[in-house]
């Protein structure tokens, strides 16, 4: 290492290495969630859309979430998308109630922004990007896992002595799988889903927080189904996703 500072944690993992930049918080707050099922099947609307500043239109964003009320078992889904190149976020839950909210924190991957507040520690890499700043909101990550996510497989779980205050990184996007339980030879112009008792189900990824048993996992729950309208065959399915959990300080 020709410059900078290297530090490791107690697992010999590089925390600061003078090379990779620390994420920078650019937006945070509380958002009211929608019921995905209600929105799709009952004409509901997105309860709240979060607009990310246009200053970050060309940045990659990382969205951390957690339920506001930390009790029982709750799930949070995120749809991140762009309109006119501006990032927008919409949150949903299958534990929907009109008063349920989630806390979110949006980070960008790399930046050179660091303030000099007269104390603490700023470490830069050779590109002038901040490797660590004690003046930044930090994700004190504790665990991470990589695994295959599908309608029948989940990523994690990550167990903690307590998951109170833990955020999870929502990697990827929402739609995981559209599953048709009929034959590949099904022909909608000749066959009837209703008469043959067939269904199409849509599965979306979500972060599942279990405050009773203190674990967090990523899974893909069924959010919508139809037994009458043939949209197409099974598609999507198993892909690798990453789950990261930690506290923001």
């Amino acid at each position: 290492m020709a410059f900078g500072l290297t530090t490791k944690n107690d697992s010999n993992f590089d925390v600061i290495d003078g090379s990779l930049p620390q994420l920078e918080l650019v937006a945070s707050g509380t958002a009211t969630v929608s019921s995905y099922y209600n929105m799709v099947s009952q004409g509901g609307s997105r309860q709240q859309i979060i607009y990310i500043s246009t200053a970050y239109n060309n940045k990659d964003i990382f969205v951390f979430v957690k339920p506001t009320t930390e009790s029982g078992a709750k799930s949070v889904g995120v749809w991140k998308y762009k309109v006119n190149n501006q990032w927008r976020l919409w949150f949903w839950s299958n534990n929907y109630s009109s008063s349920q909210t989630v806390k979110y924190a949006v980070f960008i991957g790399n930046s050179t922004a660091a303030s000099d507040v007269g104390y603490g520690l700023n470490v830069y890499n050779s590109n002038g990007e901040v490797g660590f700043s004690s003046d930044r909101v930090n994700i004190r990550a504790k665990q991470a896992a990589m695994g295959l996510l599908s309608r029948s497989t989940s990523v994690g779980p990550l167990y903690f002595s307590s998951i109170a205050g833990q955020y999870a990184l929502y990697t990827g996007t929402n739609f995981v799988e559209r599953y048709f339980d009929g034959p590949a030879s099904f022909n909608p112009s000749q066959d009837s889903m209703g008469e043959e008792g067939l269904t199409i189900k849509w599965y979306h990824s979500q972060i599942y927080f279990n405050y009773t048993s203190n674990y967090i996992r990523m899974d893909a729950s069924e959010y919508y189904s139809t037994g009458s309208v043939y949209v197409g065959p099974t598609k999507g399915g198993s892909s690798t996703r990453t789950l990261v959990a930690g506290k923001l300080v």
Binding site: T7, K8, N9, D10, F13, D14, V15, I16, D17, L20, P21, Q22, L23, D60, F62, K80, F107, G109, N110, V117, Y119, G120, L121, G131, F132, S134, D135, N138, I139, R140, A141, K142, Q143, A144, A145, M146, L148, L169, T171, G172, T173, N174, F175, V176, E177, R178, W202, V231, G232, P233, K235, G236, G237, S238, S239, T240, T242, V244, G246, V249
Partner: protein, 102 residues
């Protein structure tokens, strides 16, 4: 403290501790996969499935609600991710993947 770095803020709160991991941005991978080139592997130097690497994608792998485009994204082997077109109408798929350490 036998190892590592502990950092406090001005109020005495710990911002970084010896048991923490710092989520750090590694790189962004982008390109287009076509039906004729599928599957492809994308090189990420050092990538491992060891609980310290991760990645995220912006483009819905399963396409939209009713479209037929969808792509499978996998950790393939050390240093490689793999993208495979499973169904497509358009014949190609633009991907954008963010790699990070955690």
């Amino acid at each position: 403290m036998a190892f590592g770095l502990r950092v406090w803020d001005a109020n005495g709160n710990i911002r970084l501790d010896t048991t923490d991991r710092l989520v750090r941005y590694h790189s962004t991978l982008s390109g287009t996969i076509t039906q004729s080139s599928s599957p492809i592997t994308v090189y990420v130097n050092g990538l491992r499935n060891d609980g310290t690497w991760g990645f995220s994608n912006d483009v819905p792998l399963a396409g939209s609600y009713s479209s037929t485009d969808d792509v499978k994204l996998e950790f393939h082997s050390n240093n490689y991710l793999k993208l495979t077109i499973q169904h497509t109408n358009s014949g190609n798929f633009s991907y954008r993947i963010q790699v990070f350490r955690a």
